[in-house]
């Protein structure tokens, strides 16, 4: 299956290239013959050759070339590679140094003007963990020590179809990208691509104000012997308000509903939520407001961008240990695209034990657990076009004592990121 996707991508690109170049090449030869016979002047030949090439280029860019189906002409390939050094210092445990890699490859194609198909492959950390695409060098499958230079696993990262019947509506189904807007990774690790579907609505009141409503269903697991499969529903109304050319406010309020989780389920990577027997004790039908204020070129243009953000979560089912929040700021370039661009992010997070299902938050922050609080600082610097250096530092603590101490953990990640 993996081979098939590879072959499909490579052959599509090669086919487009070969067809366009062959056609242009034939025109060149024909026109040169006419020049040799004195029928065309060299100038007229140039005019015909260049204008023909321009026309072919335009038709391909517009998806109008008749020799290929439209979806093949509009296929786009993308990918990124990350080499990471990671150091973990957790009280009571041996220091750990790891070299890790992540590779992601993606392609999407327009089926017609209103439908798109996308798929992505990625390296797999643990086969059952939706949060990690890191592969640790020196390990084999599922973090077991491997023989030197073992092959690494690649899995299906996402595969979905999208339908845009109207400019204000997007429907998606499959193993989709997270449809919810989040200013931080307090609740959702950015590697998670839910199994399910989404309906996203956007209504522009004017050029500066847009109301949106993101809705998502996440099939958590499916069993052939049980009809009450666990799933999650999320509803997120929000507002994106461009106050003026330099000021933008985005906010949303999310509501989550989990079916067949309480008393019925426990996931492999569960670590801190309260259990009864071997099942989750509580529901996680939480509500969560989030806000981000972005300022362009603050302090007389000293930074290209400055943003403040905050997020809160509350689970009404348990009586205590049921809240969490994150707040922070981000300044520098909005995105690192080129050499010399930089960005700094600093945030504080706290997630109480049963505030949120502990299989979803950022897997790097206190090993992805709830029942923790701490700081994170990220520095990113553009080394060149499409390549950057990232330094990410976490200092987090358990909210519950082990012995006499709230066990602290320091994590340092140094990343070399390359996009293609």
């Amino acid at each position: 299956m993996k081979k098939f996707f590879w072959l499909l991508g490579v052959s599509s690109v090669a086919f487009v290239w070969v067809v366009s170049n062959l056609f242009a090449g034939e025109i060149d030869i024909l026109v040169q013959k006419l020049v040799e016979k004195g029928i065309l002047t060299p100038g007229e030949a140039q005019e015909i050759i260049v204008e023909t090439k321009e026309e072919i280029k335009k038709e391909i860019a517009m998806g109008k070339h008749e020799t290929l189906p439209t979806w093949l002409q509009t296929i786009k390939l993308k990918g990124d590679f990350r080499a990471r050094y990671q150091f973990t210092d957790k009280k009571g445990q041996e220091d750990r140094h790891r070299e890790r890699i992540r590779l992601r490859l993606g392609a999407d194609a327009m089926v017609n003007e209103q439908m798109k198909v996308a798929l992505g492959l990625a390296t797999m950390g643990k086969s059952n963990d939706p949060r990690s695409t890191n592969v640790t060098l020196g390990q084999g499958r599922d973090e077991a020590a491997g023989n030197p230079g073992t092959f690494k696993d690649i899995g299906l990262d996402y595969a979905y179809a999208e339908y845009y019947p109207f400019s204000w509506l997007t429907l998606s189904a499959g193993k989709i990208k997270n449809a919810l807007w989040e200013p931080s990774d307090l609740l959702w690790d950015t590697d998670i691509n839910p199994d399910g579907g989404a309906i996203r609505l956007g209504y522009k009141v004017n050029s500066g104000v847009e109301f949106f409503m993101n809705n998502m269903v996440y099939v958590l697991s499916e069993s052939s012997s049980d009809t009450s499969d666990p799933f999650m529903l999320a509803f997120q109304p929000g507002l994106d308000w461009r106050i003026n050319d330099n000021l933008n406010l985005k906010s949303a309020l999310s509501f989550y509903y989990f079916n067949s989780v309480k008393n019925k389920t426990k996931y492999t990577h569960q670590a801190t939520n309260t259990l009864v027997g071997s099942m989750y004790k509580y529901d996680y039908n939480v509500w969560s407001p989030a806000v981000e204020l972005r300022i362009k070129e603050p302090f007389w243009g000293f930074f290209p961008s400055l943003a403040f953000f905050g997020e809160y979560v509350n689970n009404p089912d348990p009586e205590d240990n049921n809240q969490g929040y994150a707040f922070g700021l981000k300044f520098g370039a909005e995105r690192i695209r080129d050499k010399g661009e930089w960005q700094v992010t600093a945030l504080y997070t706290k997630l109480e034990k049963d505030s949120w299902l502990d299989i979803f938050p950022d897997s790097d922050r206190y090993s992805g657990r709830t029942r923790m609080k701490g700081y994170e600082a990220i520095f990113s610097y553009g080394l060149g076009k499409n390549t950057s250096l990232g330094i990410d530092y976490y200092y987090t603590k358990d909210l519950q004592k082990t012995g006499n101490t709230y066990v602290p953990e320091q994590l340092l990640q140094i990343d070399w990121n390359l996009k293609f």
């Binding site: 002047t41 060299p42 100038g43 007229e44 140039q46 321009e54 026309e55 280029k57 517009m62």
Partner: protein, 270 residues
């Protein structure tokens, strides 16, 4: 009598208004390299067509194409081919850019007339502009630091030279960036250790054009696709041109128009 005068007056005003309506206007915008061609052609075209008004603006190739996409001009002058991203943006605005090649331009590499260097390879030019070679003695010239002159990054000439001669490598940081072809030519003419690049139209006795890969920058070598740093010059219209825009494009491509192109110093296609 009064009635007769009124009718006469209304008739006269109608005639005046209709003559105003007939004064069609087209706007050209874009490349500074194509600007001299556009200005000269516009001048002669308006002399021949009294009801036509042709407005010509510069700004650079990217500005011209953006203006065509936004519907702010009728013809975009460009010294480079339109980019895929620009085509896609145009498509989203229901604009279909159509290319018309109106002339060829060779980008001549120029040095001071006193410089003994006769020619360079593309690799040597790239090494000079990226900072790997900094002294003329490494190229068989007299000892002395090479003063690198380039066009500013917004110009179509820079983009074409960057792609054709430098394979998109970054120009060294200490290069002197100039805002026009004329400024490059003037700076090279005044600086014995300088190297620069200009369109063929800007060659004069005050600078020395050198061979590239053994090929001199001339009309014959450019039209035969032998000179390595040459490029077509474009005018883009929204779809197949009609009306006055068509007349204007036809005029540039006519023998008379192409003769004017050559008079300015570019390579005509006829």
């Amino acid at each position: 009598m009064n009635k007769f005068l009124k009718i006469l007056l209304i008739g006269f005003l109608s005639l005046a208004c209709s003559s105003l309506v007939y004064a069609e206007r087209i706007v050209l915008e874009g490349s500074t390299t194509v600007l001299p061609i556009a200005q000269k052609i516009a001048e002669v075209f308006m002399q021949r067509n009294k009801n036509a008004e042709v407005i010509v603006r510069g700004g650079g190739s990217g500005v011209g194409i953006a203006s065509l996409i936004d519907g702010n001009c009728d013809i975009a002058n460009s010294s480079r081919s339109i980019k895929d991203t620009e085509i896609q943006k145009a498509m989203s605005r229901k604009v279909e850019p159509k290319a018309h090649v109106i002339a060829m331009d060779g980008i001549a590499v120029v040095v001071h007339p006193s410089n003994p260097i006769k020619g360079l390879s593309k690799k040597q030019i790239k090494d000079i502009y990226t900072g790997k070679i900094s002294d003329w003695s490494l190229l068989g010239g007299e000892k002395g630091k090479i003063v690198v002159i380039s066009r500013d990054t917004a110009s179509g000439t820079y983009e074409a030279f960057n792609e054709l001669a430098l394979s998109k490598a970054k120009v060294r940081r200490d290069a002197l960036m100039q805002a026009s072809n004329q400024a490059v030519a003037s700076t090279v003419a005044k600086t014995p250790q300088a190297i620069g690049y200009v369109g063929l139209a800007y060659l004069s006795d005050s600078v020395k054009a050198i061979e590239v890969e053994g090929v001199p920058p001339k009309k014959e070598t450019v039209l035969a696709n032998k000179y390595p740093i040459s490029r077509p010059l474009f005018m883009y219209t929204n779809g197949t041109p009609r009306g006055l825009v068509k007349e204007f494009i036809d005029f540039i491509k006519s023998p008379v128009g192409q003769k004017l192109v050559e008079e300015i110093g570019y390579v005509g296609l006829k």
